[in-house]
Amino acid sequence: MKKSYLVIVVLLILPVAVYAVDFSFGFQAGLRTVNDPNIKDVYKNGLCYFPYAAVNLFKGFTIGAGYEFGYSRDGKIGIYKEATTLKVTGIEAFVGYQYSLPMVTPYVFVGFGSFSYTQTVDSPAAQNVDKTQSTFFVAGGIKVYPMKNLYISAEVKYVPLKVTPYEEEVDLGGLRFMGGLGFTFGY
């Protein structure tokens, strides 16, 4: 499933790459919050990581893709305080606009991601959850270039992710407060 999304994203990027002004590769890490009070109660907020690649096409318009991972939280759940783990990952594609100023580039994105979530509970009465849900998201941030091709990024992303694997709707969405490094390679 994840591989197929990745292939689709790559196939989307490649045709437009010929029109690219520059390429960017980056890695971000930061805090991931969770909206659902029950999720927050059991699993808490956690860290997540986001390697990505983007193509700056023309006049600041950008397209890119990345993979969010790292949110894997253990907790104790239910009446019996049974051991449990929740893991959320996502394949994301995004388009956005960035405005280049000397040394600083603010940007905004909208994107679409396919998020996989798994919940395991160490209990004979529990059933494992392993599902996928797609959703749009928005992000905004800033890149600071201390060197010509190297930038430091800071970004806030909001992913609304309401899922209903069984009878209960759960909001797995939340904010990401990320920071990272990236490289830009121009033509």
Partner: protein, 470 residues
């Protein structure tokens, strides 16, 4: 977890009363009724007769009685009526008929109940080669088993403490038949014979399951030893000779002594009472012959297989009716004080006392059982749980080892109860987990004591009342 929804169901439990006791029960063969006797009182207090007109008609012959290990029921055999009755004796001063089984052409004679209370074996007094196995959990059906050895039949039966070994008396062939009961309690998986002294008509197995005493009508007690499941050998004491022909034998609760009811010195003379010292498996010596003279009188004929002697659970008293059928009507049941062998006449006023048995107050089910519905929030889905809680019943004499939980669909018949779990005696709660929201079940909780005896159930069921909470 703070967040869950509680759904509560109402409570039901069973209870009972405590009595003085120990209790005796006597079957009156010609009056066709039963009586209970408070053996602890002086003189012993007789209650009843009970169930006259409900246990067959005069001439059919009520013969034997046996008590379930939980002391809740007595089984009574009606030889000519071809029936076995189940009588609720949980309230000894007001027994009630709790069912009967028609065994067709079978002539119920001796009744042996397994120590675990799960089944009973009935001997056939008509001379057929059959045994009847009755499932006591339902008391709704029976299985007939035909002895495989040609021309052998059984008048008396006893079941070992392993709930597997069975010993039968074949008076026509002067032997015992022994073997192993199958897993479904419907027949034997092995069958062998050993010779006995002449005229074996009754049998008893010691509480430790090792020593077997076989009553032989020509003044002998044959001694055997159980060496394994379904395996029997002659004891190191082969047989004991008595002054009078014995009819019934019973062990003391600790297994250190045994007692015999004997016919007496000829027809018309009083029955007598003898005791034996049990020195070890298959090793028994005569302690006192004619240790007591009873109020009942001897007849020419002995009861076959009928247990007319029983020792109280406390070991303080024995109760004896008489050694054979007759139409005597008064003062024909005796209480024997086992510390001094003093016999006390018990005036039952009924005709032809036959089988006797003793029991203590019932074994009691858990107390104050209740059921509540919990919802376990796994966030993405919910698990529904029925939580059973109860209290230990302090009325039980023996320590409880296990509580067993049975379940059926709320609308299903009681025959569909199946075991879903068990907990140790220190745990007074059971969670039936992984249920659907719409599942509605009824539950039974039983106690099993240190002897392995299971109590009657406490029943819990009801209509769910939703209450949301945290």
């Amino acid at each position: 977890m703070k967040k869950f929804i509680g759904l509560f169901i109402f409570i039901a439990f069973l209870g009972s009363l405590a009595f003085a006791g120990p209790w005796g029960i006597v079957v009156n063969s010609d009056s066709m009724n039963i009586q209970t006797i408070d053996l602890g009182q002086t003189p012993p207090k007789v209650y009843g007769p009970f169930l006259t007109g409900s246990l067959g008609t005069s001439g059919q012959g009520l013969l034997d009685v046996a008590i379930t290990p939980d002391s809740n029921y007595a089984l009574v055999s009606n030889f000519g009526g071809h029936k076995v009755y189940r009588i609720d004796i949980s309230n000894p001063i007001s027994p009630t008929l709790a069912g009967s089984l028609d065994l067709g052409s079978f002539g119920p004679e001796d009744i042996a109940i397994s120590p675990n209370g799960r089944f009973a074996v009935i001997s056939d007094g008509t001379g057929a080669r059959q045994l009847a196995f009755i499932n006591l959990s339902s008391f709704s059906n029976y299985s007939l088993y035909t002895l495989t050895t040609a021309n052998h039949y059984a008048q008396a039966a006893a079941i070992g403490t392993d709930n597997s070994t069975i010993i039968l008396c074949d008076s026509a062939n002067n032997c015992i038949i022994f073997g192993q009961i199958n897993a479904t309690f419907s027949g034997l998986i092995s069958e062998s014979t050993l010779t006995s002294d002449s005229y074996p008509i009754n049998v008893a197995i010691s509480p430790d399951g090792a020593t077997v005493l076989v009553v032989c009508g020509y003044r002998r007690i044959s001694v055997y030893q159980i060496t394994g499941p379904g395996l029997v050998a002659r004891g190191s004491t082969a047989s004991i000779t008595l002054l009078d022909p014995p009819q019934s034998v019973a062990f003391s609760p600790d297994g250190k002594k045994a007692y015999a009811l004997c016919m007496g010195a000829g027809s018309g003379n009083p029955n007598t009472f003898s005791w034996f010292q049990v020195n070890g498996p298959g090793n028994v010596t005569l302690g006192g012959d004619r240790a007591a003279t009873l109020v009942s009188i001897a007849y020419v004929t002995l009861w076959f297989g009928v247990d007319t002697l029983a020792v109280s659970p406390s070991g303080d008293y024995a109760i004896a009716s008489k050694t054979g059928p007759g139409t005597d009507i008064r003062n024909r049941v005796s209480r024997i004080n086992l510390s001094n062998y003093q016999a006390t006449a018990i005036d039952t006023t009924q005709i032809d006392a036959a089988g006797v048995a003793t029991f203590n107050e019932s074994m009691f089910p858990p107390y104050n059982a209740s059921l509540s519905r919990l919802t376990n929030n796994y966030i993405f889905y919910k698990e529904y749980i029925n939580r059973l809680t109860w209290q230990a019943n302090a009325k039980n004499k023996y320590p409880i080892s296990t509580y067993v939980i049975y379940r059926k669909a709320a609308s299903a018949s009681d025959t569909t109860y199946t075991k879903v779990g068990e907990v140790t005696s220190s745990t007074l709660q059971y969670d039936d987990r992984g249920l659907k929201k719409t599942d509605e079940f009824a539950y039974r909780i039983t106690s099993i004591d240190s002897r392995g005896v299971e109590s009657a159930p406490a029943e819990v069921s009801g209509i769910i009342v939703l209450r949301r909470g945290r």
